[in-house]
Symmetry: C3
């Protein structure tokens, strides 16, 4: 027997997962941040713009929530962050799987008045397990990366 799903309800639930991703990341709430990921999440982050075929300098993948959460938060321990997401394009691919693209902008404030300002897109997949949507894969691509302040001395 297949239950009827309401697409609008599922899309809203997925959007709120991404809202919590951003909120818990920027408030440095590691326990909260864990809850948005599938146990076997794979995260890749481009460190450079790839427009025109340039090398996006994709990071080695972070694999598994037990690596993603402590490893990413450790790199940001001394950094005030803003991660804002915009205009989602989410589509269900089954009753328990979905894909999504989000426009994003981030500002990372490092010690010494150094700031990293970027824009780009999160390309993601989601999985619903035990009634809860979680991020299964995440790849952040870049349309802008600029280094502000005294990075080069």
């Amino acid at each position: 027997m297949t239950a009827t799903i309401d697409v609008a309800t599922e899309l809203e639930a997925i959007r709120q997962v991404k809202a919590r991703y951003c909120r818990f990341l920027d408030t440095k709430d590691g326990d909260g941040w864990r809850t948005v990921f599938a146990p076997d999440v794979v995260m890749e982050v481009d460190l450079a713009v790839s427009t025109g075929g340039a090398d996006p300098m994709t990071s080695p993948p972070y694999v598994g929530v037990n690596s993603v959460v402590p490893d990413v938060l450790a790199t940001l321990a001394e950094v005030t962050t803003i991660h804002h997401c915009h205009t989602s394009e989410i589509a269900l691919t089954s009753e328990t799987t979905a894909t999504g693209i989000w426009a994003m902008e981030d500002r990372l404030y490092f010690p010494g008045d150094r700031q990293l300002h970027g824009a780009g897109h999160y390309h993601e997949t989601y999985e619903k397990v035990d009634g809860t949507w979680r991020i299964k894969t995440l790849h952040l691509t870049r349309t802008l990366m600029e280094f502000l302040g005294p990075w080069a001395e």
Copy 2:
């Protein structure tokens, strides 16, 4: 008799209240801005980041739409503002009440090339009266506050 409500419809209506909050505030439309608030709205604004337990320097509350609208707009009379909201987390708590969290970023351009740039979260409650959702309480918390330009002379 209880009418069946459509959750997606209610959430969309609440999201659009916040859209008008931002639009009327930034276009300095006081008559429009009044319509988004409950008569007895309570608004509190943190003036500092509270990460790590620091004092958030919460403002004294603005109480009532007849205070909030003229008082806030008076403080911004000479200020060009941007208030942008992102990735809402809204939940109905009954057919006529709801809670919400919004990520936000603001830039306030004061005379003399002084700019206040902030990020944080609106923590809100909503109430539906006579078929219209309105903001009942609002507390703005901060993850970033930076003062740009010649603030200190």
Copy 3:
């Protein structure tokens, strides 16, 4: 016979049109960008803030997708762009027509470290043809325009 439409589904489809508008514009994907416009789209862009009755310096209209797409992208050929949209106010006016307002922020990075930073609102209409929503008219109004870097020498 009139099919029942689901408003939440239609609004989501329209929101995703605007998401693709922003994504294809910022990734300079002309083929993709074409798909978001009605053939006879009319686009007008204010070049100045109109608060307080000032002249908004509205551009001559771009008319028709065959002009909008190549003409706008040509002006941006050497420009890295961010166009981010927030907090939509979309309303169906019939089963196949709709209106919308979006808050927006843009940053245009021109050669020579010159940057144009703006905020404002897209005022739009949409039309559904052959099952697909498209942007029919677009007027960008401005609450902020600032020129950063060595514009005046």
